[in-house]
């Protein structure tokens, strides 16, 4: 099992957001996490990636057989956990190219490898830029600076492609995307899917799941996963909304 989350409770400033969440993800699987606003979907992403201020008060996150509750975010990243941010951050002054090279070399150093040779790096950049249809002008700019909403999201998938994570969490990667950009993002994810990695796709809408077909769909409500099912569940949600599930839970 790649990721095993058991009875996870997470609080921000003392306020409990996740209230006993369980989730297991195996290699080769795609899990979709859906649910109304404010149910803790992004908090789950933050907890898995180790963001400061998200306090795990109970339970544990086991990744690759190891409890990572207290592991630093960069160490988690170097072990293969990647987050496609809902709101990618602009970093003025740091060019995309150099940011990427620094990140790849950090990962390689972690794995006991020498820094990536320049030629190999550039080749990989070219390949992955094509994959997500990113303009060379963008990679010469500072990270996310002056990127449109769609470009920022494509850039997240580009970084994912470059870093080849084992576990990728896509936090509302579809929000703010038009249908063409959505297809590009989905194509990128589908190209990267393999038996060796897994995806957790957080989304509000069924739309993305037409292109990234999940093996499992989970519905979150009030800090827990309240319903799980196959890809059919997403279609049902699209059709009936969340209320019927919420009603079931409240009963």
């Amino acid at each position: 099992m790649l990721l095993n989350i058991k009875n996870l409770h997470v609080a921000i400033n003392g306020k409990e957001i996740l209230k006993g969440l369980d989730l297991s993800v195996n290699k080769g699987e795609v899990h979709a996490i859906m649910g109304p606003n404010g149910t803790g979907k992004s908090t789950l992403a933050a907890a898995i990636t180790g963001r400061e201020g998200y306090e795990i008060t109970q339970g544990e996150i086991v990744y690759n057989g190891e409890v990572i509750n207290n592991m630093a975010p960069d160490v988690r990243a170097n072990r293969g956990i990647f987050l496609s941010f809902q709101y990618p951050v602009e970093i003025p002054g740091v060019s995309m190219t150099n940011f990427m090279r620094t990140a790849i070399n950090a990962q390689r150093e972690f794995n006991g490898l020498a820094p990536i040779p320049a030629g190999e790096f550039l080749k990989k950049m070219e390949k992955m830029k094509k994959l997500v249809d990113i303009n060379t002008k963008l990679t010469k700019r500072s990270v996310n600076e002056g990127f449109s909403g769609g470009e920022k999201k494509k850039n997240e998938i580009f970084q994912m492609a470059m870093l080849e994570p084992k576990l990728a969490i896509l936090d509302e990667t579809d929000s703010g995307l038009d249908i063409d950009a959505l297809k590009v993002v989905a194509r990128g994810v589908n190209e990267l899917r393999s038996d060796e990695n897994a995806f957790v796709v957080i989304t509000h809408y069924q739309r993305l799941l037409d292109y990234i077909v999940p093996d499992f769909v989970h519905v979150m409500y009030d800090g827990q996963i309240v319903k799980s099912g196959g890809k059919g569940l997403a279609l049902e949600l699209e059709d009936k909304g969340y209320d019927w599930i919420i009603d079931q839970v409240d009963e």
Partner: protein, 478 residues
């Protein structure tokens, strides 16, 4: 623009340093005013009168209200510094090597021009004169009559006055019309004495028409002794000439440095300033750019990195006296621990100075809740057809960006350094000499990596680092 303090001081209210300055002048008056050029002599007398009456600036003075310098006036400094004799090459005392950057190096030690006797004042084949100001005043009296004390008044303020009244020596550079000086001229100023000194040194740089000069002004420490350095530089930039000034300040934590520069720009002249304040107890840079001829252009940039209880104060005055000039200011700094800073940016646009473009920005990152910066723009605009803007920010390290970088596998310390370095790179990328820019950036990286905190009084050496800092960021590609 400059309100003078005309308060009268009586002997009994002098602080120790003020009293020492006044008595030093009285004791040495014959020597100080008798053996020099009449222009110097007149300035000295005027400066002394001002000092006697007004002393050094205190915190009631608007321009010094948050400054820690006045807190030092009760400390004891030796003013009567014996002349130094050239007995060994400067490189034996202090080494400065910037790889790939060729500068002609000149030096000052304890306020005295440091060279062999025959090299006190040299004239190159192109007619460029470089050397000691003491010697130059007698050999080039007409240049002194025309330029000395013309850009700054002897009684501008207490420190200008103290400098004018007491300066022992300094550097003189004259570039004749039409001469473009190929190698940069580098002045390395050192203090090397066991007792605390107050050094007043005075530089005069004159560029004729259609000429060019790059000047590096380095203030460095070689030991841990406290000192008070009060340097004043006057620069005259002739018509259609280009002057690049780099200031590099790398002093021990007990040194106080006042490094004031007064510049006069003629028509179509270009001035570029880059100040790197790397380390030092207290540093104050006053820079006055007077745009006196149409089409003049000035670009003033600065980076400061302060920590512990260090203090940095940048005071920039841009005087748009005539129409059609352009000025730009960009200062960025990082203040850590309990460091404090001041940035005051004055832009003055005279009534007839139409079509003025004047821009100013100051951005700061405070690393701790105890670090402080006072940043203040002062714009005085009397023309109605101008474009002026100013902006100042004070912020912390961007936690969002830090997490974003860590999520990509970059360690916290590296992410922090990369963010700070990228923040400052906007300024350093403006250093047009590549070898110098690389050296600047290298020193900034080492400073940010805490190389100075290893021992609390150390200073960075400007020479080639034993192991260069590998930092994978290439700003030329941004």
């Amino acid at each position: 623009m400059n309100k003078r303090e005309n308060m009268q001081k009586s002997d009994t209210t002098y602080k120790l340093l003020e009293a020492s300055i006044v008595s030093e002048f009285e004791r040495k008056q014959v020597e100080l005013t008798g053996l020099c050029h009449p222009a110097v002599s007149r300035s000295r007398m005027r400066a002394f009168e001002f000092l006697k009456n007004s002393g050094l600036p205190d915190r009631k003075n608007e321009k010094w209200k948050n400054s820690p310098f006045p807190g030092q006036y009760e400390e004891e400094f030796l003013l009567d510094i014996p002349p130094v004799y050239y007995d060994r090459a400067m490189e034996e005392i202090f080494k400065c090597e910037v790889p790939g950057f060729w500068a002609d190096k000149y030096s000052m030690l304890n306020g005295w021009y440091y060279s062999t006797k025959e090299n006190q004042l040299i004239t190159t084949g192109e007619g460029v004169v470089i050397g000691s100001i003491l010697k130059a005043q007698h050999q080039f009296p007409e240049l002194f009559e025309k330029h000395f004390g013309k850009i700054v008044r002897a009684d501008q303020d207490g420190f200008t006055a103290a400098n004018t009244a007491l300066f022992k020596d300094g550097m003189f550079v004259y570039v004749p019309d039409g001469v473009e000086v190929k190698n940069a001229v580098q002045l390395i100023k050192l203090i090397n004495r066991q007792e605390p000194l107050m050094v007043n040194s005075r530089n005069l740089i004159i560029l004729g028409k259609n000429s060019r000069l790059t000047f590096l002004h380095c203030d460095d420490s070689v030991n841990h002794t406290p000192s008070f350095i009060n340097t004043l530089t006057e620069v005259f930039v002739g018509e259609n000439s280009s002057f690049e000034l780099y200031k590099l300040q790398n002093l021990n934590d007990s040194t106080s440095l006042i490094n004031n520069t007064f510049i006069h720009q003629e028509q179509d002249s270009r001035l570029k300033v880059n100040i790197l304040s790397l380390n030092g107890g207290k540093i104050r840079n006053e820079l006055h750019a007077n745009l006196m001829g149409q089409g003049a252009d000035v670009d003033i940039n600065g980076v400061y990195l302060m920590d512990k209880q260090q203090h940095i104060d940048n005071q920039v005055y841009v005087n748009h006296a005539v129409p059609n000039c352009h000025s730009n200011e960009l200062f960025k700094g990082v203040l850590d621990e309990e460091a404090s800073g001041i940035f005051n940016g004055y832009i003055y646009v005279a009534r007839d100075a139409q079509q003025t473009n004047a821009f100013q920005r100051n951005n700061n990152i405070l690393m701790t809740p105890k670090a402080t910066i006072d940043t203040m723009p002062y714009l005085e605009i009397y023309a109605d057809d101008v474009k002026c803007s100013h902006g100042a920010t004070v912020g912390q390290l961007d936690e969002e960006a830090l997490f974003y970088m860590m999520q990509r596998g970059i360690g916290k310390e590296d992410a922090r350094l990369l963010l700070l370095f990228a923040f400052l790179a906007e300024v350093t990328s403006k250093v047009s000499i590549e070898a110098l820019r690389i050296s600047y950036e290298d020193m900034i990286k080492r400073r940010l990596q805490g190389e100075l905190s290893i021992c609390d009084k150390c200073v960075l050496h400007c020479s080639v680092p034993d192991k260069p800092v590998e930092f994978d960021i290439d700003l030329s590609k941004i």
